[in-house]
Assembly symmetry: C2
Homo-oligomer: 342 residues x 2
């Protein structure tokens, strides 16, 4: 049996109230009693029963994170790194992290509702925001605390952290144009993800600034995995006039694209350039190493979690919206185009 506050009370010969107040360092308990209670608690290995505590004071000291993931085989380093970022910070503040998985779609809102109504969490962390994001609309409508990784158009005063990926993609565009590329193919995820719209817009504007128009037919839709990147890249490569550079909107798809190019007998960084986005640890170890835009996912997890905890504690937030500056990481997957196409 675990020891309860009542056991301590009995042992030290004080009331339950006094023990509780002693443990919480109230000042209507004498220093001697406090000491006595603390020692007894220590000795008896007392740890407060979480359920009872939480039932009484209406908070849960738990933050919720619902992974928007489908099916098995999700191994996007994006998620694990972000999760570690949240988890560490939560632990620092004595908060628990309740993780569920639920694919985007119908059931999603019900999952959120359920966790809210059964009083399981104090707030949510939302990731991979979408245009018209039902999760955010729901949480907003009931006034439930949350912080998002990613912006949402039209929801400009919700709390979020995001990287200014518009600018990030402009840097990619600048760099590719500087290298001499004019015919660029692009592999993007579904445009329902807001990060995709920003990155595409950045790319488009960046290219247009140099007088280059990205044609619709040169933009293909992938599913953010290596597999998706491979398949779409292969399509681009096998066209009669293939692009000299492939811009993937995340690193995983870029890795697939590199693989596709190599299977097609091309030398990446010479015959064709490939860029990614995220700068996952792996991107240093691809062959050739990947040119990409850095995004500090772990730290973003930290920040998002920290903000959420402040919100649920009712503490003031210095900045409700944070937009990080991206930086371009130039590696060897990009080079001047090989202008042998007739």
């Amino acid at each position: 049996m675990t020891t309860s506050i009542r056991d301590i009370a009995e042992k030290v010969g004080k009331s339950i109230t006094t023990v509780s107040r002693a443990l919480h360092d109230y000042d209507d308990v004498s220093p001697e009693t406090k000491e006595l209670v603390r020692k007894a608690a220590q000795e008896m290995g007392y740890v407060a029963n979480r359920q009872a505590q939480l039932l009484r004071q209406k908070s849960t000291d738990t933050i919720g994170f619902i992974l928007p993931t489908f099916g098995p085989r999700f191994s996007d380093p994006f998620f694990s790194e972000f999760l570690a970022g949240i988890g560490n910070k939560a632990a620092d503040h004595g908060y628990d992290l309740l993780v569920s998985t639920c694919p985007p779609g119908e059931k999603e809102i019900r999952t959120y509702q359920y966790e809210v109504q059964s009083n399981r969490v104090d707030g949510f962390i939302i990731v991979r925001t979408r245009v018209d994001d039902a999760r955010i609309q729901y949480l907003n409508s009931i006034g439930f605390p949350f912080v998002a990784f990613g912006r949402v158009p039209g929801m400009d005063d919700m709390p979020y952290v995001d990287e200014n990926s518009d600018v990030g993609m402009q840097m990619i565009a600048d760099y590719l144009v500087e290298l001499g590329h004019t015919h660029i193919g692009c592999i993007a995820p579904s445009m329902e993800y807001t990060f995709a719209t920003h990155r595409m817009q950045g790319l488009r504007e960046g290219l247009r600034f140099h007088g280059i128009d990205l044609r619709e037919q040169d933009v293909l839709t992938g599913d953010l995995t290596e597999k998706g990147g491979y398949e779409r890249a292969m399509e681009l490569i096998q066209r009669p006039y293939r692009p000299t550079a492939i811009v993937a909107l995340n690193d995983l798809m870029a890795i697939g694209a590199i693989s596709a190019a190599q299977d097609a007998g091309l030398v990446v960084g010479k015959d064709i350039s490939v860029t990614g986005f995220d700068n996952i640890p792996l991107s240093t170890y691809t062959h050739p190493p990947l040119t990409t835009v850095h995004q500090p996912i772990f730290q973003i997890g930290n920040m998002v979690c920290e903000m959420l905890i402040k919100i649920v504690k009712g503490m003031p937030l210095e900045e409700k919206q944070v937009l990080l500056k991206p930086s371009l990481i130039k590696r060897q997957s990009t080079g001047a185009p090989f202008l042998v196409e007739k």
Copy 2:
């Protein structure tokens, strides 16, 4: 305000007891009343308060998973895929998943103790078991439910799922010898991990069967990351008599090794062979694709979680120990050794 069981009771004009029993489908409530209560609950958006429920019935319907991870930048796909495996299965059974992070070492046991004593979880999932695993010793000593991914020497009747990686590595050994390799370098993690001991033993025995002894100096210790793999591989490669094959004990290190070999100007799969272990999704998309041993991490997550839930529910377990058969995945990172060394 959220609606409580009391609100329903008032509305339908029955007692709290009856409402509770109606919702739980007890048979001392008339069908009409049940229907009435259910409809009212539905209408009023009633969801049971978890804390109250759990305080009363002593279980938590939550399983604990403490990621044994150090520092930031952990993005081992191993963890995210395993986590997804656990998470999905837990959700299927209406269980929550409580995730924490804590680096291996001193503090670890305290983290477990804390979660146990504060009544936060019904059982734990343990991953990356170690020789003399303090976590397992602790949980065993207090009789707290857990299931491990990985065996522990001397704890033969604890519940676990593992892949028979001894055999997996023998297959690697067989294959490399068959290709003609005799001088093999190896990058292994610390031998405190039980999976490392099994894999090494498998490799050693596999080679010895063919009359080849793995020399101590050819076994280097890496930290399971791409970086570790890169550095150790570089060491092996720069030796006067470099091995013709590098056996890494996981895919991530193998990817680092491939990168190192390429930076040293070698053609992987020709000048040098590299093998991994795990068959992470990425291993298809390395260049060249990686020869490795398949390990169904997602499914193992599923199984481990299912077993744990059965245990905490007191249901019988068909198999308390599960040892999966590995399978060798031959890809292009391995080939016959280039016998130009004088």
